[in-house]
């Protein structure tokens, strides 16, 4: 995997920097000098990327960020390539992204894969893999794609989602899929008793091997190394449909080994 590595310089105004320009599909095609000259928004000002990051590597589809503070909107609107973030991210990670893969080796903020400021739709493609926890409303208004959270999710993963898949590996889900239209919110923590959500209708419990779509998802999660543990062959899927106050075509899966 060729590409640039951007290492955060230990100074600068991190709290106000906007991560939206940190996209592998855009930055990966630039020559090093052009990359250093890319303007990053910091508050109302613009700062050359080279002032905030040390640049190493070569052009390519992978962009690695090291030591970076949790900036908002990293990977927003990206359409291809791989963005690797070694550390925590701020809010709106992968906002309205359309393709590619984002890997976060740390925690993510609120609204992972949600809509960007100028859009009413969240991500419409691609995959986001977070090794740690995620904040509120992961998958907000997402239309397509996969969000895999290796830790726990805060309030309502899949909130108002249109379609797509949100996977949460640890802990119970707090009000998942509120007002969701379609799509799937998946819980993988076997230690948690399947919750009865008032706005979802439980359809029953089915062997994993009888649900090829779940098997496809489990295999994809393994390929992405998105979860720490593997799912046992004799696992079962506790399936609920809802939100019954909405279209009712969304699903909650709790896969229990």
């Amino acid at each position: 995997m060729s590409g640039y590595t951007l290492t955060w310089k230990p100074h600068g105004p991190p709290a106000l920097a906007d991560g939206a320009a940190l996209r592998p599909d855009v930055l990966g095609a630039l020559a090093p000098d052009a990359l250093r000259a890319v303007a990053l928004k910091v508050g109302r000002d613009s700062v050359p990327l080279g002032d905030l990051f040390d640049v190493s590597g070569e052009s390519g589809p992978t962009l690695t960020l090291r030591g970076v503070p949790p900036l908002p909107r990293m990977g927003a609107k990206m359409v291809s390539g791989e963005l690797i973030i070694e550390g925590n991210t701020g809010d709106d990670l992968g906002a309205s992204m359309r393709g590619g893969v984002i890997r976060v080796r740390g925690r993510a903020g609120h609204r992972v894969g949600g809509p960007d400021y100028t859009s009413d739709r969240g991500m419409t493609g691609g995959e986001i893999v977070v090794s740690g926890d995620a904040g509120d409303y992961a998958g907000l208004r997402m239309r397509r794609g996969l969000i895999a959270i290796g830790g726990a999710a805060a309030r309502s993963p899949g909130f108002r989602m249109l379609a797509g898949t949100v996977v949460v590996a640890r802990g119970a889900l707090d009000s998942p899929g509120l007002e969701m239209q379609r799509g799937t919110v998946v819980a993988l923590d076997s230690s948690v008793t399947p919750a009865r959500h008032a706005w979802f209708q439980c359809e029953g419990e089915f062997p994993l091997t009888s649900m090829p779509a779940a098997l496809l998802l489990v295999r994809r999660l393994a390929e992405l190394k998105a979860t720490n543990g593997s799912v046992a062959a004799n696992a079962v899927v506790n399936l609920s449909s809802g939100d019954r106050f909405g279209l009712g075509k969304g699903e909650l899966w709790q896969i229990r080994s």
Partner: protein
């Protein structure tokens, strides 16, 4: 030319252009997988009378299938992409969706729409059986339809890749009697079976009713290959060597010319030996197809 005493006729097999698709079918266990394979490849020997030619390409271990269950790769051939687009949804809908526990995936997922390739809608059509309860799921850039059925869900990929391919590669195994010739032909079929990108679509991989183009009857566009019928030896032009009382044909459909050459070479060498008088091939004077597989060249190129 002779191999282990068997005469290799200096002739060629005449093959023609077809389009092909590969389906990967999975099921909960080997027994139901075999049922699914037998059903969906039934009545698919020749496009003379069937909507498609189809057969098992190979079994796939669970570790290599998309959903981790036992699987099989099947090849389907039809005259063009439109005919394939009609045959596949019908066969998948009637034979695989109805079969307990199956799922269907595209075996040529990298195929894009070009002059020489196409995408055939399968799940995109079958989904309507769900009567509004169907759901799609996109995983790793591939889209699947989940159709609710009485044992759970039938998962079928939205579309499958189709490519230009070759059908009608063949060779004839000529022996003294049915038992000896059948044994030699079975050896050939068994040797071809593990090879990729090729199928033998006839019963057990073998044809006894080899055909020629045309007929004395207007309604027929193919009829018995009388030059190789031992009971007609004295009635006209025969191509049978002395001592031949039985002929079986192996027809090969492949995704590429190379696949057919390899399969012909492997099969012919397996069929040769004591009891097999000669190996020949079916051709129709260039009237049927543009692909000519000369036996002597095939054996030189195909190795084995």
């Amino acid at each position: 030319m002779r191999i282990q005493g068997t005469i290799i006729d200096d002739t060629f097999a005449e093959a023609f252009r077809m389009w092909a698709a590969r389906l990967v079918v999975t099921a909960i266990d080997a027994a139901w997988l075999e049922t699914a394979v037998r059903t969906v490849t039934g009545y698919a020997t020749s496009v003379i009378g069937c909507d498609a030619e189809a057969a098992l390409e190979r079994m796939i271990p669970a570790s290599e299938t998309p959903d981790g269950r036992p699987g099989a790769a099947l090849l389907f051939f039809a005259f063009n992409a439109d005919k394939l687009a009609k045959a596949l949804p019908n066969r998948v809908g009637q034979c695989l969706m109805t079969c307990p526990t199956t799922a269907v995936y595209d075996g040529l997922p990298d195929v894009k729409v070009t002059e020489d390739s196409a995408r055939i809608s399968v799940g995109a059509k079958i989904r309507f059986f769900g009567d509004g309860h169907q759901k799609s799921k996109a995983i790793a850039g591939r889209r699947y339809w989940r159709v609710p059925v009485m044992d759970g869900e039938f998962v079928v990929e939205e579309s499958v890749g189709a490519v230009k391919a070759i059908a009608g590669g063949n060779f004839l195994v000529c022996g003294p009697d049915q038992a000896t010739t059948l044994a030699a032909t079975r050896r050939a079929v068994d040797a071809i079976a593990p090879l990729p990108d090729v199928i033998t679509p006839f019963p057990g991989g073998i044809v006894r009713s080899g055909s020629k183009v045309g007929s004395r009857y207007k309604a027929m566009f193919a009829s018995t290959n009388d030059e190789y019928c031992p009971t007609l030896r004295s009635r006209g032009k025969t191509k049978l060597h002395d001592g031949v009382g039985c002929v079986y044909e192996i027809v090969l459909n492949g995704l590429s010319k190379e696949a057919i050459v390899r399969a012909m070479a492997v099969g012919i060498r397996a069929a040769c030996g004591p009891g097999t008088v000669a190996i020949s091939a079916g051709n129709y004077g260039g009237k049927l197809g543009k692909f000519h597989f000369k036996l002597h060249e095939v054996l030189a190129e195909g190795g084995a």
